[in-house]
């Protein structure tokens, strides 16, 4: 980045409503500059990577169809019997009257509540930090960076004592509130707005008498579509997979989320501890099925949010 000359925002940008700009589709470049050999090498590389990322998942998908012995003795990608998936599911449900369903519901509720709260808190903050002059701005950003570096092993006892102080231990809030603190999101939003929101646009809006709130709502939010997509999937994935904090905060199976519940369920079975034997019908196939089920919502959120992310509007960031 040689001390860059930044092009002045084009007058066009100010005139054209942002929404139309954003929605204008950006097709693939017609000319790719790819010869046949390049095409081949590229496809081969991508496929190899596809194997690296995809093969373990394919294995996971097939694992519920197999018995424990089949899992270790058959070809790794063999298919057992599809009917076994049904019995695996029944086996998962036998545990404590299907409490796993409750965990699933809890997980969804916690993830959604955290997501909404985290976005509502982070987005305006990132926006204001980038485009306005809130008091203590530098301090806020410095502390945000520090907070991102704090390891959970240092924070967990303090957080636990704090949550206990307000009598929220073992409630959903003990998980939702601390995870709704999303410094990574604020930082991302801050950088995004700082580099991609034309200040002239806001200045023009202010002259026209728009309030800061209106500007945020009509300019800041619509411009943030790709950012939103990013934040949604980063936050959702993090919350959905969160184990440690819920493990510390939650004491009762009725409020467990899926990772904590599953860990408790399988920790006493031979699925991962071959030395623990018993009559609970939870083996590696059941665990794999649970894994597949856990992945589904995240996959959906991803497919949904990647439309935003790849809608090609991280534009401003690349004006150099």
């Amino acid at each position: 980045m040689t001390s860059t000359t930044t092009p002045a925002p084009t007058p066009l940008a100010a005139k054209t409503p942002w929404l139309t700009r954003l929605r204008r589709s950006r097709g693939a470049p017609a000319l790719t500059g790819m010869g046949p050999i390049t095409t081949l090498i590229r496809a081969a590389l991508l496929l190899l990577l596809g194997i690296f990322f995809g093969l373990p998942l394919l294995w996971l998908l097939l694992a519920p169809t197999k018995t424990d012995v089949q899992l270790t003795q058959d070809f790794p990608l063999s298919i057992g019997s599809w009917a076994k998936i049904g019995s695996d599911w029944q086996n998962l449900l036998t545990f404590d009257d299907g409490v796993i369903i409750q965990w699933y519901v809890n997980s969804i509720l916690y993830a959604l509540a955290t997501l909404v709260l985290a976005l509502a808190v982070s987005l305006p903050a990132g926006y204001a930090l980038a485009t306005m002059k809130p008091k203590g701005r530098g301090l806020l950003l410095s502390l945000t960076l520090v907070a991102m570096l704090l390891p959970i092993s240092a924070l967990v006892l303090p957080l636990f004592l704090e949550i206990n102080l307000v009598h929220l231990v073992n409630t959903p809030w003990s998980v939702i509130l601390p995870t709704a603190f999303f410094p990574f999101g604020v930082f991302l939003a801050f950088i995004y707005y700082a580099v991609s929101l034309p200040k002239d646009l806001l200045a023009a809006g202010r002259i026209d008498g728009a309030s800061e709130w209106q500007l945020f709502w009509h300019v800041g939010i619509p411009l943030a579509r790709p950012l939103l997509g990013l934040l949604i999937f980063l936050n959702f994935t993090a919350t959905w997979n969160n184990y440690f904090l819920p493990f510390v905060m939650l004491q009762d199976p009725s409020v467990y989320n899926l990772p904590v519940g599953l860990q408790a369920l399988i920790s006493g079975t031979p699925a991962l501890h071959p030395a623990l034997v018993g009559d609970v019908p939870i083996h590696r196939a059941e665990l794999a099925l649970a894994g597949v089920i856990i992945v589904l919502p995240v996959a959906l959120v991803f497919l949904f949010s990647q439309r935003f992310v790849t809608s090609g509007a991280l534009t401003g960031s690349f004006k150099e």
Binding site: L46, L157, V298, F302, T310
Partner: protein, 321 residues
């Protein structure tokens, strides 16, 4: 962090601020209200616990609960003199040395490769790359237990070709930094690839077409046109990868414990500094020593992140609009 600086410096100079000062001092502006909720969260769940951790690092936990300021610097001394301290840091630095370049180059390279031609193939691959990020906790452990066992792994052909026919050989101590790099990449790269891909799609087609007309081939375009344009995101990734990987915990902890349950003990439960901190806290009940080592990690992370920011001028042009 520097943008902020740039902005801060704006405030005192222009006269208009001076005029308003009297009012501003007492009334929160819209900007203040925008950041207020976040400030509260930051205080409650970032700063307050952080300060508390600092206090705990001087507390004595010999009976499991804190006696404040009773330890003085003892927790720091305990930590430095612990017989696991040196190996944990050595492991972490080896891991950083491999994982940061690997992660940054890998993600950037894959995103550029994907973007050479958009279409169903690229988007299908992108989705496959991302999906492992959705696999968590006990499930990822199950996957790794099987992937790393040459007798049952879908990758067993590859593993045996490299003369690794036993799990213990695959996960022997000297392999661990690379192994954790691959595991981290498997889980985390997809999300970043999507981010980068989104960024690449934002590059104006005019620029790319111009390059093509000038005779640039796909590799040249990727290297000389696209890469500089997403440079800032690459640095951002480098910073976060560094800051994140310094805290390496999940991979060695989960994998180590799970293999240990089947008797495969090659991964120490105190393999990384963060694990050592966790061990101090939750095995020994010494939350003070845990806080001490954590704060040390924060310091290293901060220094490293700032060094990258300085060296790359990450924020230098951000304020320019």
């Amino acid at each position: 962090m520097a943008v902020l600086e740039a902005r801060k410096q704006v405030a005192p100079s222009p006269t208009k601020t001076r005029v308003k000062t009297g009012v501003r001092r007492w009334l929160p502006t819209a900007a203040d209200l925008f950041v207020l909720p976040y400030t509260l969260f930051l205080l409650a769940f970032g700063i307050l616990p952080g300060v508390f951790a600092l206090i705990l690092s001087f507390a004595n936990f010999s009976n499991g609960t804190p006696q404040y300021f009773a330890a003085g610097l003892q927790n720091y001394i305990t930590t430095f003199h612990d017989f696991r301290f040196a190996s944990a840091f050595a492991n972490m630095f080896q891991f950083l040395l491999i994982s940061v370049p690997f992660g940054v180059i890998g993600v950037t390279g894959i995103a550029l490769l994907l973007h050479m031609r958009t279409g169903w193939f690229a988007s299908a691959m992108r989705t496959i790359y991302f999906l492992p990020g959705a696999v968590a906790g006990p499930t990822s452990v199950l996957i790794f237990l099987f992937m790393l066992d040459p007798q049952v792994s879908p990758f067993r052909g590859l593993l045996t070709a490299m003369h690794m026919d036993q799990t213990i050989i695959v996960i022997q101590p000297s392999h661990l930094p690379l192994l954790f790099t691959l595991l981290g990449f498997f889980v985390g790269a997809g999300g970043w690839i999507v981010i980068f891909y989104g960024g690449l799609k934002g590059i104006s087609t005019d620029v790319l077409e111009a390059a093509a007309i000038d005779g640039a081939n796909a590799w040249q375009t990727a290297l000389y046109i696209k890469l500089p344009m997403i440079r800032r995101y690459v640095i951002y990734l480098a910073i976060l990868t560094f800051a994140g990987n310094i805290q390496i915990f999940t991979e060695p902890q989960l994998i180590g414990a799970s293999f240990a349950y089947s008797g495969i003990g090659t991964i120490s439960p105190t393999w990384s500094p963060n694990e050592l901190g966790y061990y101090f806290a939750f095995n020994d009940g010494n939350f003070g020593a845990a806080a001490a080592i954590s704060l040390l990690m924060v310091a290293i992370g901060l220094i490293g992140a700032l060094a990258i920011i300085r060296a790359t001028g990450f924020f230098r042009t951000d304020a320019a609009v």
